[in-house]
């Protein structure tokens, strides 16, 4: 027995030590577990497969108003709008992204993408960045290359048939290199093209015949041309030297860019040359067109030599076939009509982009982006950022003229696109928008004068003009409208856009006024109001302080329209409705909402009638 070696001491130490260490570790676990919330508050939104435990720590009653009025937490949960990890009950896990969870809490901007997954309208109240992004989607023609629900192939880019009649090959090359310096309000993105590719595209485009041009007129007079440009109010839509609207292209260098014969023809018969243009059909006389061409050739030219204005105008017709292939491959046909090239989309559909995870998308080496809108913004501004040299090069062009915020807003609008993201009955569809324009003569006139490029009608149309056509029939007198359409005067001095003088004939003006007067009535305006006492109206005008915004007899301020001569313009029924009931105030009109006693409104209407 005695020769048996004793058990080594270290064995006792290890056995007992590990026993006590285990006990200590279990103690630590018990302490840690005490930090677990005793009671978990959980909210389940079965439709959206959302389980949110946010209310374990947060009280929905503390939520800022008025969001929960329309989006009660009982129905929407929390993460539907806020992101984050709803199942988590620790702050870090619930709020932050980690290897286990990819979606941190949205910031205010990203939340708007969540709005957009249900709200399908172009403009969503309370979500300005989403709305702005959607406007940019339309404006920049994203749907020309990508399938985006709610967006058709854009029609705003010029048709390219007969391009050789319009501009020089050198100008097209310069435009394809970088459109920004040639037109500050350009919509076309900048494509990454080699010189050879540009040559091929030019060869293809210059092989397309366009409509025949008008016979060349005699040389015009540039002074008369300057006057015509001012009288016609070209700058309502066009920019010259950084002033003017941005509906049409910048004209600062148009004299050097456009071939005179083409410009002259275009001004005479705009829609024959470019059926899809947004410009109204002015149908200028040959003489007036020649004057404007002369003025453009004298004034709208570069001060210094620009390469495109002086470069050799060479085209190699042999490259046309290659150019056509490139035209299709780069998605040019998504926005432009050109010859018989079918209009197809050249890039991937974006209808489920919002469900992509940034971690699955290519990463730019230097600056990895973490949230989807930021990733999209980078892709839009610098598509080549995600190129892998020698492996993958983006075909997507760079969208210039967008600020970082613009690009991020685009990202928000696109991140909202989630196929099957929410059940159909959760969707809030865009309000139905139909511009109810009759066919026939009136329809042809509305089309020719491109009324809906500037005016809203039935929720469609542009927003250049401050006045929507809806209800206009109840607001103004028909006689006045006939005159106005022929010679539009400025009613609202506070607005910069002036209606162009399009040369609407008396017969055309009458037809349009008839249509507006009979079809575009405002249901809020009751007809047949009896007028009151003009003298009492004059007193009320002074007592109510109307002169703060209006001018009468040359006195007052021009915040609102001048009321001198308003008797011939305004329908008294409308005046009564505007002043008494308020329902007749159109969007964009800053007039106070009604509220006057009906008798006083009738007095004021009688007084205005007398002005």
């Amino acid at each position: 027995m005695n020769d048996e070696p004793a058990l080594p001491r270290w064995l006792h130490v290890v056995v007992l030590g590990s026993f006590f260490l285990t006990a200590a570790l279990v103690g630590v676990l018990l302490v840690q577990d005490a930090a677990r919330p005793a009671q978990v508050e959980q909210r389940i939104v079965a439709d959206l497969e959302v389980v949110d435990r946010c209310e374990t720590c947060h009280d929905a009653a503390d939520h800022p108003a008025p969001w929960l009025d329309d989006h009660p937490v009982e129905r929407f949960g929390c993460t539907t709008c806020h992101g984050g990890q709803g199942l988590a009950v620790t702050k870090a896990a619930a709020h932050e992204a980690g290897p286990d969870w990819e979606h941190p809490l949205y910031d205010a901007a990203e939340r708007e993408a969540a709005c957009g997954s249900c709200h399908e309208a172009a403009t969503v109240s309370g979500a300005p960045r989403l709305s702005h992004g959607r406007a940019l989607l339309a404006e920049r023609g994203c749907a020309g290359c990508h399938t985006i629900p709610g967006f058709d192939l854009p029609e705003t880019a010029p048709q390219l048939d007969g391009l050789r009649d319009k501009v020089s090959a050198a100008w097209v090359r310069a435009w394809l290199t970088d459109p920004a310096p040639l037109n500050p309000v350009h919509k076309m993105p900048r494509f990454a093209l080699t010189d050879a590719e540009r040559d091929a595209l030019v060869a293809f485009l210059f092989s397309l015949d366009g409509p025949a041009l008008e016979p060349a007129p005699a040389a015009g007079d540039s002074d008369r041309g300057r006057l015509a440009v001012a009288q016609r109010r070209c700058t309502t839509c066009h920019r010259v030297d950084d002033r003017g609207g941005d509906v049409g292209p910048d004209l600062t260098l148009a004299g050097a860019k456009l071939h005179p014969a083409w410009l002259g023809s275009f001004l005479q018969d705009t829609h024959r040359l470019r059926p899809t243009t947004r410009m109204p059909g002015f149908k200028l006389s040959a003489e007036e067109a020649a004057d404007i061409v002369a003025y453009a050739g004298e004034q709208w030219v570069p001060d210094a030599d620009t390469p495109w204005a002086t470069a050799a105008d060479t085209v190699d017709p042999g490259l046309a076939a290659a150019g056509r292939a490139l035209f299709v491959d780069r998605g040019c046909a998504g926005c432009h009509r050109a010859g018989d090239v079918p209009r197809t989309r050249a890039a991937m559909a974006l209808d489920d982009l919002g469900r992509r995870h940034v971690s699955d998308l290519p990463q730019a080496g230097a600056a990895p982006t973490h949230d989807l809108p930021s990733w999209i913004a980078t892709k839009v501004l610098v598509p080549a950022a995600f190129d892998v040299p020698g492996v993958a090069a983006a075909k997507m062009p760079a969208f210039t003229g967008l600020s970082a915020d613009d690009a991020f807003d685009l990202g928000i609008a696109l991140a909202a696109l989630r196929k099957d993201g929410v059940p159909g009955d959760w969707k809030v569809a865009a309000p139905a928008a139909t511009a109810n324009v009759p066919a026939g003569e009136v329809g042809a006139l509305v089309d020719r004068f491109r009324c809906l490029v500037c005016h809203q009608l039935g929720g469609r149309g542009g927003e250049v003009a401050g006045v929507a056509l809806d209800g206009e029939g109840s607001r103004v007198r028909r006689d006045w409208l006939v005159g106005f359409l022929q010679a539009p005067v400025t009613i609202r001095m506070d607005q910069s856009a002036r209606m162009p003088v399009m040369g609407i004939s008396p017969a055309e003006a009458t037809a349009l006024a008839e249509w507006i007067g009979s079809s575009l009535a405002d249901p809020a305006v009751e007809e047949g109001a009896t007028l009151g006492d003009p003298a009492a109206g004059a007193l009320a005008y002074a007592a109510r302080g109307c002169a703060t915004c209006h001018v009468v007899h040359g006195e007052g301020t021009m915040k609102g329209p001048t009321l001198d001569g308003a008797g011939a313009r305004l329908d008294p029924d409308y005046v009564v409705a505007l002043l008494a009931k308020g329902g007749a105030v159109v969007p964009g009109n800053r007039h106070p909402e009604g509220g006057l006693p009906e008798a006083e409104a009738r007095d004021l209407a009688a007084w205005i009638e007398s002005l």
Binding site: M1, T22, L29, A88, D100
Partner: protein
């Protein structure tokens, strides 16, 4: 009071606290837990280098996996709609959910590694030779079952890692000519990893495979005893002094307890510091690039990348086949019980080369393969 505890303690041993050799021997023979051991052991077998405790550690890990696994089963729901959410419940609301899952996860990885190391140790010391051939075969089967347990468990969290690793693994099965596709169909219950696969993996993981392992372990341990315990070197010099044999109590039992204690502390510490991964919920439409099998299959995935048949099927199948018939073919009985005996240098060199080959392939597959399985530099 002290007497009260002593009576409990003594009752466990049936013969009282083994305070002298006679009682120790009686305890070893008549106590249920102890009678698996020989009553006396060779001092050489007690050296750490004799086994490195690998087999016993594997057994302890299996035990701990059963215990933690049962706790996890209380909360886990084997359905695609609920499985991943159960993981989140374990992470956020279940008492000790995180540490239990960590213990289970890290224990499972450790068990795979230790079982394979145990097999290597037995090979090097010639422990597969007569009369231990059948036990070697049982060991090889246990290793395969261990991989199966780990693989089936890998799917259960139903996260991206799980889903795609198992998708890759089942594709590897399906790529075996002939038997592969029906075997994969049988395993998944469908052509893709889905609801049926999750339920099958769950049942295999929690019922079928653990019972198979438990049964085979019983056989394995029984045969260790019956085949003469640890394989020993006939050349080992008898100890110059001291006894030729030592009583298993306390010499062996205390070493085993130390091993158990060390394992529990190490595993607990690891599980309290490092959390088991849980990726976003499985999404069949969202394939990670690269999609990787569990680490112990990455060597085979790497080989399959070179050649789907030779690397993905032939080499693994041949390896298992050779391991199974090995004891019946290699019948030299020299140089047993030592790691690098003259007589076994060829055999051990070949074995180590093959093992090194698999380890290298696994390391490449794990750390040096990026998107599209392209070679890439550390770190992954």
């Amino acid at each position: 009071m002290r007497d009260f505890f002593r009576r409990i303690r003594d009752s466990v041993f049936r013969v009282g606290w083994p305070e002298d050799e006679r009682r120790a021997l009686m305890a070893m023979r008549s106590s249920f837990l102890l009678h698996i051991h020989a009553a006396k052991v060779r001092p050489a077998s007690l050296r750490a280098t004799a086994t490195w405790g690998l087999g016993l550690l594997s057994l302890f890990l299996f035990g701990s996996l059963v215990i933690t696994g049962v706790y996890l089963m209380f909360y886990y729901v084997p359905h695609p709609d609920a499985a991943w959410r159960s993981m989140k419940d374990l992470a956020f609301v279940v008492p000790f959910g995180v540490v239990t899952r960590n213990l289970h996860r890290w224990g499972a990885h450790a068990m795979v590694a230790l079982v394979l190391l145990h097999m290597g140790r037995v090979f090097l010391t010639g422990g597969y030779k007569a009369p231990r051939e059948a036990n070697w075969v049982a060991g090889v089967l246990l290793a395969i079952l261990t991989l199966g347990l780990s693989f089936t468990g890998y799917l259960l969290p139903w996260d991206q890692l799980a889903y795609w690793a198992v998708t890759v693994g089942s594709k590897m099965v399906a790529s075996v000519p002939g038997l592969g596709p029906p075997a994969a169909l049988l395993l998944l219950g469908d052509h893709t990893v889905g609801e049926a696969a999750l339920l099958r993996f769950y049942v295999l993981h929690c019922v079928v495979l653990p019972l198979a392992v438990a049964g085979l372990v019983a056989f394995h341990l029984y045969r260790v005893r019956k085949d003469g315990g640890l394989v020993t070197s006939e050349h080992a010099p008898a100890p110059a002094e001291g006894p030729r044999l030592l009583p298993a109590w306390p010499h062996l039992i205390y070493r085993e307890l130390a091993l158990l204690g060390g394992l529990v502390v190490a595993l607990l510490l690891l599980s309290m510091v490092v959390d088991a991964p849980l990726e976003p919920q499985a999404d069949p439409t969202r394939t990670p690039n690269p999609a990787k099998a569990p680490w112990y299959f990455l060597g085979i995935q790497e080989l399959a990348h070179y050649s789907a048949f030779w690397g993905g099927v032939f080499i693994p199948a041949a390896t298992i086949g050779v391991l199974l018939v090995l004891p019946y073919v290699d019948r030299h009985d020299q140089g047993l019980g030592r790691y690098w005996p003259k007589e076994r240098r060829t055999a051990n060199s070949v074995f180590l080369l093959i093992a090194a080959f698999f380890v290298t392939e696994t390391v490449i597959g794990t750390f040096f393969r990026g998107p599209a399985w392209a070679l890439m530099w550390w770190p992954g």
